[in-house]
Amino acid sequence: MIVRILGEGQRTIEESALDGLNALDNELIAAVEAGDEDKFSTALSALLNRVREIGSPLPDDEIVPSDLVLPSPDASLDEVRELLGDEGLIPG
């Protein structure tokens, strides 16, 4: 599957790696919902590091939509919330 880290481009990761990523993702969601900036940045960098570790970069000339899109490493909680709130996907 294809994962994009905003500002860094896309990577291909094995479908089987998804379970491991989900655990990290749950922490990230919890941090966003709790509005906890510290936990958010810890969870975000843990998730991004894992994706960078297991994913291989997609060639620049390939054009495919991503299955997952992750915030950029220096994104703040407010920015992410704004991004999601744009389309009303996160209530509140």
Binding site: G7, I63, P65, D67
Partner: protein, 262 residues
């Protein structure tokens, strides 16, 4: 739902909006390609803007560095002239200058990182735009309405996402650059107001520490000249001519006078 999927959906929704705009999907391809070229131009301009801001910061950093060096040497001069008060003043100002310098250094590295990211993004976008153009022409050449819908949909989602990503990066870089420019103007104003002594000023201009140091130096010069003059006067005239003369000159002149009398 996972964070990543929520974000991915946002990009898909945006791509669909673009797709719905035109009745013939081929028009969507051309429209999108135009937008891509526009974005590419904007990103390149963005890279240039960030570079300009970075260079401006570099010039300010050099000015501040020179200013700090000058204050340091003024402090040394003041100490050797026995003026601790002046030295303290110079060191206080130097520490303010160093503080500013440290701030600018942090911002400089942030800006540099932003510039690198944007450069990479623009290279990636360029490659994708080239690839999109090829794909667009292929789709148009072999166009059958049924097949085209899916192919165009795929290409559009992929490129829209890329454009969305690069667009965000651009916005971020623009915000940072604007902050930096405001900050740079503030430092320029500080330098202009003389609050941060600008080392590019002519020596002594607006610089009270330098003025005092110069006057100490000038006083010393006067004393030295005086001593020299006294030393060169013919003996015998000395005590008469300069009854309250400088001590140093008298000490020097005394043995010579005694020698003459003998």
């Amino acid at each position: 739902m996972s964070m990543g999927r929520r974000l991915a959906l946002i990009f898909k929704a945006k791509a669909n909006k673009v797709l719905d705009k035109h009745e013939d999907p081929r028009e969507t391809l051309d429209y999108s390609y135009e937008k891509q070229l526009e974005l590419l131009t904007k990103v390149r301009r963005g890279v240039a803007d960030v570079a300009t801001s970075r260079k401006r910061l570099e010039i300010q950093m050099q000015q501040l560095q020179a200013s700090g060096d000058k204050l340091q040497s003024q402090a040394q001069q003041a100490v050797s002239a026995g003026r601790d008060d002046l030295a303290r003043e110079a060191l206080t100002r130097r520490s303010a200058v160093n503080q500013q310098l440290a701030d600018l250094q942090t911002q400089h590295s942030q800006l540099q990182a932003e510039e690198e990211k944007l450069t990479t993004a623009s290279q990636r976008l360029q490659a994708k735009v080239d690839s999109f153009r090829t794909r667009k022409e292929t789709i148009k050449a072999t166009y059958t309405a049924a097949e085209a819908q899916t192919k165009i949909g795929e290409a559009m989602s992929g490129i829209s996402e890329e454009m969305g990503d690069v667009g965000l990066a651009m916005q971020r870089a623009e915000d940072k650059t604007q902050q930096m420019q405001a900050r740079a103007s503030a430092v320029d104003e500080l330098i202009a107001s003389g609050a941060l002594d600008d080392a590019s000023q002519p020596l002594g201009g607006r610089d009270d520490i330098q003025r005092e140091l110069d006057s100490i130096g000038a006083n010393n010069d006067v004393e030295l000249e005086l001593a020299k003059l006294k030393g060169s006067l013919p003996a015998g005239q000395q005590t008469q001519a300069l009854p309250g003369g400088a001590q140093g000159a008298q000490q020097q002149a005394q043995p010579a006078a005694e020698e003459n009398q003998q």
